[in-house]
């Protein structure tokens, strides 16, 4: 029953929001909905990690360790972004940037978006998963264009056009995979269930499967933000309302990567690990390399964070490509760490841009003096995302590097290490410019509101906590997922 609750709750929440008109009612629905989804996700994950894979509806719904892990991520960042939205939109309404009557559509779209992401992860059929991933694009495109300004509409248009094209390529790849599977399994939709595909993978036509993987990697890779298909990402992530940016960066990218991982697992069984691993390393490394110059010469704080997301998705992709249990462990841990830290950063950037009324790095000065909570939080968050100990990103990056060196992939790991170090310099330079100095006269001292400040501190504390101590629960969970993914 739990998967149905998990899918039903966001839809119910979205539906209820349609009928609410007041900001207060919406806030209550939003908080209750977010918490209910969170609790269901925890219960479901508990079930999967203690009792094993959850199957419903004749294997239509199939949640194994990897799926359960991503569900946890979605529920967590979804709840955090939902809570942050309260303060964020309270300020937008006060500042008169938004009419109260339009607010409900934000929450409706928000929870439909959460629903589509959860749907990606719970279904077994790769075709349905494709439909769900496309649905994430459609629901979030309207969120990206929510502010109805020229720039946000431009971003939404680019986002929907580029991602839809990308994803049609993934459909073509899925089709090729189906064609390969039908020869072995016979007709019917079971031929696209990844649980079935995994069992017969060794009998599939290797040529077709390879071609299928290339199309799927390029297609879903567009949504992951892998270079050179990443061009929509900085626009969409910078123009969306900040809570949505956190959701896009923290989990949507991981959902798309999940699509690639599923197919990667099948293809590895068919043609051996060499082919897919090499492709993943190439695309991942290229993404990190492309992100670097844009981070070094960035003028816009939210675009800076968006390019940093491209970099981190690149790191995760490379880590999956390196393969082996330790690298997979690092990759999965990095997904969690990146989601938490990037949420903290997008929330602080949201506060800062609301307070200074600009996204330009050059115009945000003296943030620590002007905003006593957000300012230090942004600085510490930048340290965290750049991979400085004792924060969590350091742990996962360190794991990935040591796995790479342990496997003798000196060139790949060394190159990644150099790039990550350079990115560190770029991020710290930009953020230090904003954090220090004295604020311009027009900017008052103080936070936008208390709630927004609290929501910046919570994820940052988690980032610090996970940096000094990995709770055994999380360690075990990730270990299980890495084992399931065939790490040796």
């Amino acid at each position: 029953m739990m998967p149905f609750f998990l899918l039903g709750l966001p839809l119910v929440t979205a539906f209820l929001c349609i009928f609410a008109t007041k900001q207060k009612t919406l806030s209550v629905i939003n908080v209750l909905g977010g918490i209910a989804i969170g609790v269901t996700a925890v219960l479901l994950d508990w079930h999967v990690f203690t009792k094993g894979t959850l199957v419903e509806l004749d294997k239509f719904i199939y949640i194994d360790a990897l799926g359960a892990y991503i569900i946890g991520l979605i529920a967590f960042v979804g709840l955090a972004a939902g809570l942050y939205s309260l303060g964020y939109f309270a300020h937008e309404l006060e500042a008169g940037e938004l009419a109260e009557a339009r607010l409900k559509w934000y929450y409706v779209l928000f929870y439909v978006f959460v629903f589509t992401m959860l749907a990606v992860v719970v279904v077994n059929n790769l075709g349905i998963m494709w439909v769900a991933i496309e649905a994430t694009t459609l629901s979030s495109a309207l969120l990206v264009g929510y502010f109805d300004t020229k720039a946000s509409l431009e971003a939404a248009w680019k986002y929907i056009i580029i991602c839809t094209v990308g994803i049609v390529f993934a459909l073509f790849g899925t089709l090729l995979l189906y064609f390969a599977a039908v020869h072995v399994l016979g007709e019917g939709s079971k031929a696209l269930d990844w649980s079935t595909l995994l069992q017969v993978a060794s009998k599939l036509n290797p040529k077709l499967v390879k071609l299928a993987f290339i199309f799927i990697l390029v297609g879903y890779g567009t949504k992951v933000g892998l270079a050179p298909m990443h061009t929509w990402l900085p626009d969409a992530h910078s123009q969306a309302p900040s809570p949505v940016s956190a959701l896009l960066s923290g989990v949507l990218l991981n959902c798309a990567l999940y699509g690639i991982l599923r197919v990667h697992l099948v293809v590895t069984q068919t043609v051996g690990p060499g082919f897919t691993n090499a492709l993943l390393i190439i695309f991942g490394m290229f993404s990190v390399a492309i992100a670097l110059p844009f981070i070094l010469a960035q003028h816009d704080i939210k675009r800076l964070l968006a390019y940093s997301s491209i970099e981190h998705m690149g790191i995760i992709t490379v880590a999956v490509g390196i393969g082996g249990k330790l690298a997979l462990y690092g990759a999965l841990l990095h997904m969690l760490n990146h989601a938490i830290t990037k949420s903290a950063l997008f929330f602080s950037a949201g506060n800062a841009t609301q307070h200074y009324r600009t996204k330009k790095i050059a115009k945000i000065k003296g943030l620590i003096k002007a905003m006593p909570v957000t300012g230090p939080a942004l600085l510490l968050g930048a340290f965290a995302i750049a991979g400085v100990p004792p924060f969590n990103i350091f742990i996962s990056e360190f794991t990935i590097f040591s796995a790479g060196f342990a496997q003798g992939k000196y060139f790949v790991t060394g190159l990644l290490l150099v790039l990550v170090t350079l990115v560190f310099a770029g991020i710290m330079y930009a953020v230090a410019k904003m954090a220090f100095g004295s604020p311009p006269g027009r900017v008052a001292v103080g936070e936008t509101n208390k709630w927004s400040a609290v929501m910046v501190v919570i994820p940052l504390c988690l980032a610090l906590l996970l940096g000094v101590y990995t709770p055994p629960v999380i360690g075990n969970v990730i270990y299980q997922v890495a084992t399931m993914m065939g790490g040796r």
């Binding site: 720039a151 839809t164 049609v168 073509f172 089709l175 007709e187 696209l192 040529k207």
Partner: protein, 216 residues
């Protein structure tokens, strides 16, 4: 004429209808060409249903007719009328050059997938290169045409290509997935229409050339 010959003819016709979109000089003729492509694709789907004996294919054919040749062109037409920015096609590449490039793309698609499927079914082996060619032509339309509506038509051509490959595969795509793909295509065009409206309101044009302020 055997069913496989008929299928081959229809595959060729579908591909050929992409060229109607390329040579269209006005927005309404481009949308009409998209309707033609939808109709040919629907007939192809029905023929495949008849030759494979799978009844879901007929449902898919009717849906193709309704969505690809009916609803989507209707929405595009309405948007074009409501935003009222004239019917001219604006392109970075002129029609003659576009034709030459698209012919080259077709040749590329056929030479790349030529020996891919020695063991595959006859129809799929024909449909695959044509599908790839349509995907490339669709991409070409999307990258060279400046107006939002023509870009959506380009997307439609890509989708039609993939759909044709799906129908051409031995047993087609499973019905559930086909339904999902249709719903997505429809919802996608609908949302793009909404965005096109808002873009028109904000920029007073739906020329995507203006969408160039976000860089770096």
């Amino acid at each position: 004429m055997s069913s496989s010959e008929l299928s081959n003819l229809l595959i060729t016709l579908t591909l050929a209808s992409s060229f109607l979109i390329i040579i269209g000089r006005r927005l309404d003729s481009v949308i009409k060409a998209a309707v033609v492509q939808g109709i040919v694709l629907a007939i192809f789907t029905a023929v495949r249903g008849w030759s494979t004996g799978m009844h879901e294919m007929y449902v898919a054919a009717v849906l193709t007719l309704l969505v690809k040749a009916g609803l989507i062109p209707y929405i595009l037409n309405r948007v074009a009328r409501l935003v009222d920015t004239g019917w001219g096609i604006k392109s970075y590449v002129n029609t003659k050059m576009s034709l030459v490039i698209c012919v080259a793309l077709v040749i590329v698609a056929y030479s790349v997938t030529g020996d891919m499927l020695a063991s595959g079914s006859a129809v799929f082996a024909r449909a695959l290169p044509a599908a790839l060619a349509m995907m490339l032509i669709g991409l070409f339309i999307m990258t060279t045409r400046k107006r939002a509506i023509t870009q959506v038509v380009g997307l439609l051509v890509i989708e039609n290509g993939v759909f044709m490959a799906g129908v051409g595969a031995t047993n087609g795509m499973p019905a559930v997935i086909e339904l999902g793909v249709f719903l997505d295509a429809l919802a996608g065009v609908f949302i793009m229409a909404i965005l096109a409206f808002r873009i028109k309101r904000a920029f007073a044009t739906i020329n995507t050339e203006n969408l160039r302020s976000l860089r770096g």
